[in-house]
């Protein structure tokens, strides 16, 4: 029960959710709801793990994970953008497809140990008391990449021209189309980016946070939690980061609760009977629901909402929103 350790581990675990949630923010900002995050993550985790194992090069592994997630997401793109199919059902089938592919291709991978993403200290910054060891020491490269991704995403979406086009396509695609922005092209692109980041999130698990291939247990629903976080975050990368790291720390803190025999002066019930651990394992899922409730209430109060065209297919020349 050491706060420093919990926060440190929380940042690492939270990076998984961060990548997936930011990817989903990009896709949803463009108006495409992609519920296939869990499937893309699992495929990414498998592709990264297996590539790193066979080539002995972890960077190729990460690249493979990104590509695998991206390619899989294009299936969702084709079906929802061109065929105008229901995005919910298509996303669900993407989860099945990704999970199935990962299981079939990932046969016999468990129990192996490939090269992992290296961890290192950031010079100078890691010397700062408390903050240094928590944020800047002994983290994998991916955690630092996550730090950079948050401000970049925010700047990109809210301050840069392509980000403005992205938001226009998600809010009012017919207006964007009139202004010469390719609605289909933009949507494909950000669905692809979302897939790439989900794939990277998967590889973050299998090559860094909890290395290994444990079939569907590898992701154990984190893709869904990431989608929940996006709603909680109201499609804002800063809030998504806050949620992701908080969740990461909680996940870790929960594990640590089972350790000590005495907790706050009482016999620790979790230590006495490990079966109470099942209730601890429920907490991330229950917290996701709570986060959603909080997010929805705030959204109603502030009249904030999902991108207006989220889930609505765009057909040129038809009355849309």
């Amino acid at each position: 029960m050491n706060l420093e350790i919990i926060l440190h581990a929380g940042l690492a675990t939270g990076t998984v959710l961060l990548f997936a949630a930011i990817g989903e923010i990009f896709a949803e900002r463009a108006g495409i709801l992609n519920l296939g995050v869990e499937g893309m993550m699992l495929l990414g985790a498998m592709a990264g793990f297996s590539t790193s194992l066979s080539t002995g090069n972890v960077w190729l592994g990460l690249l493979a994970a990104i590509i695998a997630g991206g390619i899989l997401s294009l299936a969702h793109g084709l079906v929802t953008i061109h065929f105008q199919a229901d995005q919910v059902v298509s996303g669900l089938s993407l989860t099945f497809l990704g999970t199935g592919l990962a299981l079939v291709l990932g046969e016999g991978l468990s129990g192996q140990s490939p090269q992992l993403v290296p961890a290192f200290n950031i010079p100078l910054l890691s010397q700062i008391p408390f903050i240094g060891p928590v944020f800047f020491a002994n983290h994998s490269l991916l955690v630092y990449l996550g730090y950079l991704l948050i401000p970049f995403t925010w700047y990109y979406i809210f301050r840069m021209r392509p980000g403005m086009h992205l938001r226009a396509v998600g809010e009012k695609p017919d207006a964007a189309d009139t202004m010469g922005v390719s609605v289909y092209g933009t949507r494909y692109f950000y669905v692809f980016i979302g897939g790439c980041l989900a794939g990277l999130a998967g590889a973050t698990i299998s090559l860094s946070v909890s290395p290994g291939w444990y079939s569907t247990q590898t992701t154990s629903g984190q893709g869904w939690i990431a989608i929940g976080l996006v709603i909680f975050a109201q499609w804002n990368p800063w809030r998504a980061a806050l949620g992701a790291y908080l969740f990461g720390a909680l996940r870790r803190g929960i594990l640590d609760l089972q350790g000590p025999a005495i907790l706050l002066g009482f016999a620790n019930p979790l230590y006495v009977n490990s079966n109470y651990g099942f209730f601890l394992q429920m907490t991330p899922y229950i917290l996701t629901i709570l986060a959603l409730i909080i997010g929805s209430r705030q959204a109603i109060k502030k009249r904030l909402g999902a991108p207006a065209a989220l889930g609505v297919p765009y057909i040129r020349g038809e009355r849309g929103l």
């Binding site: 059902v89 199935g100 990962a102 209730f279």
Partner: protein, 392 residues
């Protein structure tokens, strides 16, 4: 090379022909099988042999047909659960959790126990069915209320509750009712078993000896042996449930409201339909059907509460509902196909293959929906007359 015609997609002006949805569904399954065959070839399998094995293992004899129908039973019920919710565009993907909660509540009847152990099955089983439905409905009620009152996205809440339900079940199986430390409860009393065909095996063999027209007929179709056939009463329950769901959706006022909300929420609101109430009720009905599936599974198949009673039935239910185009009777047929996939999946390697096939099938189905909205036309290009410039 230049084709003498071009292929164009045109938006349908008239309604599509009645047979088309069924045709696209069947076509999707066939295409999905072909694609998976290629994928299997790619990873070094033998698709033809696997497919042949698939049909032998699932429809090859009466015994395996019985196995297939056993697997189809919970699928029909969860398929119906998804159907009613999806009709209202309510995305209940928590049938898995509702299934587990149904199984848990139904088990309470014999594990607590709520009735004395020597109670007749005619009381125990209906009570278990009711409890199962109550459990599932309760698990559907939570996301229903959150959606209706607070506009909380039901996709995520139902999904999160799946994990909670499975962990909840595990707690009781491991902690309270563990059978000598195993991850399962003791076997239920026989009064809590749904009747199976094999239970009638002895009287039937005597029946064969006495001879008669029916016996000759049964022998002729190869049904001499029914011992070992585990098809249980749950299948009948599931089929009855399909009829009830059909009646609710197609013949009752409530069903009309559900469909109207699904088609056009605003119109429904102006028509004075209480949307809040309907969201909660439909989620509860959906949950109750999934919970009933949990009950039939523990009373008809495993006869105890244990870990992993569902290999993802709740999720397969989503695909089934969609493939059946939300038609309760089609749900039965599609469930039999998916039951077959599950039966074969137990033996087919690699293990994820049947899940992969499910994903591809669902993708094909939603892609083929484009054919319902657009028609493909082959437009013949006319020969350019002399002097006329051929269009680029």
């Amino acid at each position: 090379m230049k084709l003498p015609f071009t292929i164009t997609f045109e938006k349908r002006v008239e309604d599509y022909p009645k047979w088309l949805p069924a045709a696209t569904s069947i076509g999707s399954v066939v295409v999905a099988f072909i694609i998976s065959g290629f994928l299997l070839k790619l990873v070094g399998g033998e698709p033809i042999r696997v497919m042949n094995f698939f049909f032998q293992a699932t429809f090859g004899s009466w015994a395996v047909i019985s196995d297939t129908l056993v697997k189809a039973t919970p699928l029909i019920l969860v398929g119906l659960a998804c159907t009613v919710a999806f009709k209202m565009k309510l995305w209940n993907i928590g049938a898995e959790g509702q299934f587990y909660m149904g199984a848990f509540f139904a088990s309470l009847v014999v594990l607590v126990p709520l009735v004395p152990p020597e109670t007749s099955g005619f009381i125990v089983l209906p009570l278990m069915a009711i409890m199962g439905m109550v459990g599932g409905a309760a698990w559907g009620f939570i996301p229903g209320v959150l959606k209706a009152k607070l506009q909380v996205n039901e996709i995520i809440t139902t999904l999160m509750l799946n994990y909670v339900a499975i962990l909840w079940n595990n707690f009781w199986i491991f902690n309270k009712w563990s059978d000598a430390g195993f991850q399962m409860t003791p076997v239920f009393e026989k009064s809590a078993w749904l009747a199976r065909i094999t239970d009638y095996a002895r009287p039937y063999s005597e029946f064969i000896e006495t001879g008669g027209g029916l016996a000759t007929f049964m022998t002729a179709i190869g049904l001499e042996r029914i011992s070992g056939m585990t098809l249980h009463l749950g299948f009948i329950i599931a089929v009855v449930a399909a009829v009830v769901v059909w009646w609710i959706l197609e013949r009752s006022k409530w069903g009309y409201e559900i469909k109207l909300i699904g088609d056009n929420k605003e119109a429904a609101r102006y028509a004075g339909i209480n949307i809040v109430r309907n969201i909660i009720l439909v989620m509860m009905l959906s949950g109750a059907l999934a919970g009933l599936a949990g009950m039939t599974e523990i009373t008809g198949v495993v006869h105890r509460l244990q870990e992993r009673i569902s290999p993802g039935y709740g999720f397969t239910g989503i695909i089934i509902a969609w493939l059946a185009k939300l038609n309760p009777f089609a749900v039965i047929l599609v469930s039999v196909l998916f039951g077959a996939l599950l039966v074969a999946g137990r033996e087919i390697q690699p293990a994820g293959l049947s899940q992969l096939l499910q994903g591809i099938i669902l993708f094909m189905v939603i892609s083929s929906d484009v054919l319902l909205r657009y028609q493909i036309r082959f437009v013949r290009l006319h020969k350019p007359a002399a002097g006329e410039v051929e269009p680029a």
